[in-house]
């Protein structure tokens, strides 16, 4: 694995490997001495173009537990906001011999750009880019769900997929990088994914996703999900005519006390609630739902460090001839290999007619 940019290109073996290694990292987290020498002498840069204390601290803890040196580069309010380009910043980090760059950026695709540009040799970890993806968040969600099920079944979670689980993701899918990363990862791991939200906040093109879409949250809850993941509603969406009012949104798509009670009515005693972080209490989720025993929020924070340790370990150990390097076959040139582009060659044309 060279970079971790999205969950869409994670194969089942790779996803499982990340989660299984995270299990071992979690075990280290339970020891008295929580530190491992694996990445001694390596440098991890947290390059944050957007404020996110939680994610940065989680990556920082992960890198430090692996004995890496950590440099925090908050690009907000630095020379970057004075017009220095991503390219210049990348080259600065390259000159500082960064081995891994953990990047959070408001523009979708910025990590992919950094990884493909040749500006930098370091491994790139996407810590959330625009409305594209947030792969380590999805990995920690999957990790949390896998452990939840393993505990219910009394079986070890290592090595197991999420086959048979049904996960409901609720809210602003359109602008959510967490939703995207989870849709790809959870379905790759065999779970069934349901989406529920207002039609204005579901992307055009969602019909091509491997999910079932509901406009009515209660209809979706009646499908008896094993987990309900609530997405955060960002303040700037509240005034852009995506829905009439926050009150109407909360009534239709908020996980309120009535819906919390409904889980009991439906007999869903093991269904967990995964609140967004940070959350707007009373909007996406009521306080009693967020604080109920069904909430996985604290486990998620703990598991976040473990999966990020796993990601950093797998990215920064090993030589270039990785044992799963066959997954790294470059994609064919889409300019000449778009699904129908072959019809365009003279021969293809004849076949077409």
């Amino acid at each position: 694995m060279r970079h971790l940019l999205s969950t869409q290109d994670l194969s089942v073996p790779r996803a499982l490997r990340l989660l299984d290694v995270a299990e071992e990292m979690a075990a280290v987290g339970e020891r008295e001495i929580k530190k491992l020498p694996a990445l001694r002498g390596r440098t991890v840069v947290n390059l944050f173009f957007e404020d996110s204390t939680r994610t940065r601290i989680s990556f920082e803890a992960a890198a430090k537990r692996l004995s890496a040196d950590v440099i925090n580069f908050s690009a907000k309010g630095s020379s970057v906001s004075k017009g220095e380009s991503l390219k210049d910043t990348a080259q600065t980090l390259e000159a500082m011999s960064a081995d891994a760059v953990v990047i959070r950026h408001p523009s979708s695709g910025a990590p992919a750009r950094l990884a493909a540009s040749g500006w930098i040799d370091a491994a790139v970890v996407n810590a959330g880019d625009g409305t594209h993806e947030h792969p380590t968040q999805a990995l920690l969600d999957a990790f949390t769900l896998r452990r939840h099920r393993a505990r219910l079944g009394g079986e070890p979670s290592t090595g197991s997929t999420l086959a048979g689980m049904r996960i409901l993701i609720v809210g602003d899918v359109l602008h959510s990088r967490v939703a995207r990363s989870n849709v790809w990862l959870l379905t790759t791991l065999g779970a069934e994914v349901l989406l529920a939200g207002p039609p204005t906040l579901l992307p055009v093109g969602v019909h091509s996703w491997p999910c079932t879409v509901y406009y009515d949250l209660d209809d979706a809850l009646a499908r008896r999900p094993d987990a309900v993941m609530m997405l955060r509603l960002q303040a700037e969406r509240m005034h852009a005519a995506f829905f009439p009012s926050t009150r109407e949104y909360a009534r239709r798509w908020g996980f309120d006390d009535a819906r919390l009670a409904r889980l009991d009515t439906l007999g869903l005693k093991d269904t967990v609630i995964m609140p967004p972080g940070p959350m707007n209490r009373g909007l996406e989720i009521s306080s009693s739902a967020a604080d109920s025993s069904r909430s996985t929020v604290l486990a998620q924070v703990r598991n976040g460090v473990s999966v990020r340790m796993a990601a950093l370990y797998l990215l920064l150990s090993g030589d270039q001839q990785d044992d799963d390097a066959e997954d790294d076959v470059p994609a064919p040139d889409p300019r000449t290999s778009t699904p129908r582009a072959t019809d365009l060659s003279p021969e293809g044309r004849t076949r077409d007619q």
């Binding site: 071992e24 020498p37 150990s317």
Partner: protein, 195 residues
């Protein structure tokens, strides 16, 4: 004895057969008990993957001598890739679970068990890993095969067989718990050589 090469250009030589391995384990079990003056505070930690079944077998041998010993309560697994100094030179290895016996390792006599002792780097990593897990009273090392070519000042306390090898050769240990060859479980130590 030399058997025909199964892959082109590789010859295989069986140096320990199943009975040889069993004899060696029995002898080492006795050596350990003798050195420790009994089974008091003994913990056997196998290094994955083949050190772990060897530790289990040795614990059985010890239990056969001293019925007070419960093999399951003295055996554990110690995984070391996260402590290796050559992480960047080799393909990435996923760490396996480290499992300590319920009694822990503090003030115990820990016997590290591995199949082949070669450069000594694995054992160096294992010693570092142990230090992060607790403080044993003493640490001993038991290996099935010592093939020489040490790169660190490390030596085994108990050796099944000393095997002078060339560094071109590969020593492979096959154990029934892990290895299936041609569909049947095999216990043997072979030396492979590229010719």
């Amino acid at each position: 004895m030399t058997v025909p090469a199964s892959e082109s250009g590789v010859t295989k030589r069986v140096v320990l057969a199943a009975a040889d391995i069993d004899r060696a384990l029995t002898r080492i079990a006795h050596e350990i008990l003798e050195a420790n003056k009994g089974s008091q505070d003994l913990v056997l930690l196998g290094i994955p993957r083949r050190g772990f079944p060897l530790a289990q077998r040795r614990a059985q041998k010890i239990a056969a001598v001293d019925p007070a010993v419960d093999p399951a309560l003295v055996t554990g697994q110690l995984d070391v890739p996260l402590y290796r100094d050559d992480l960047r030179r080799n393909p990435t290895r996923s760490p396996l679970a480290t499992q300590l016996p319920p009694s822990g390792i503090d003030d115990k006599v820990v016997v590290l068990v591995d199949d082949v002792l070669y450069s000594g780097r694995t054992i160096r990593a294992a010693l570092d890993a142990l230090a992060d897990l607790g403080r044993p009273r003493s640490v001993r090392l038991a290996v099935l095969v010592d093939r020489g070519h040490r790169e660190l000042p490390i030596r085994a306390d108990h050796v099944g067989k000393n095997l002078p090898t060339s560094s071109r050769e590969r020593v492979r240990v096959h154990l029934a718990e892990i290895d299936l060859i041609g569909g049947s479980a095999v216990n043997e130590v072979v030396i492979e050589d590229r010719t």
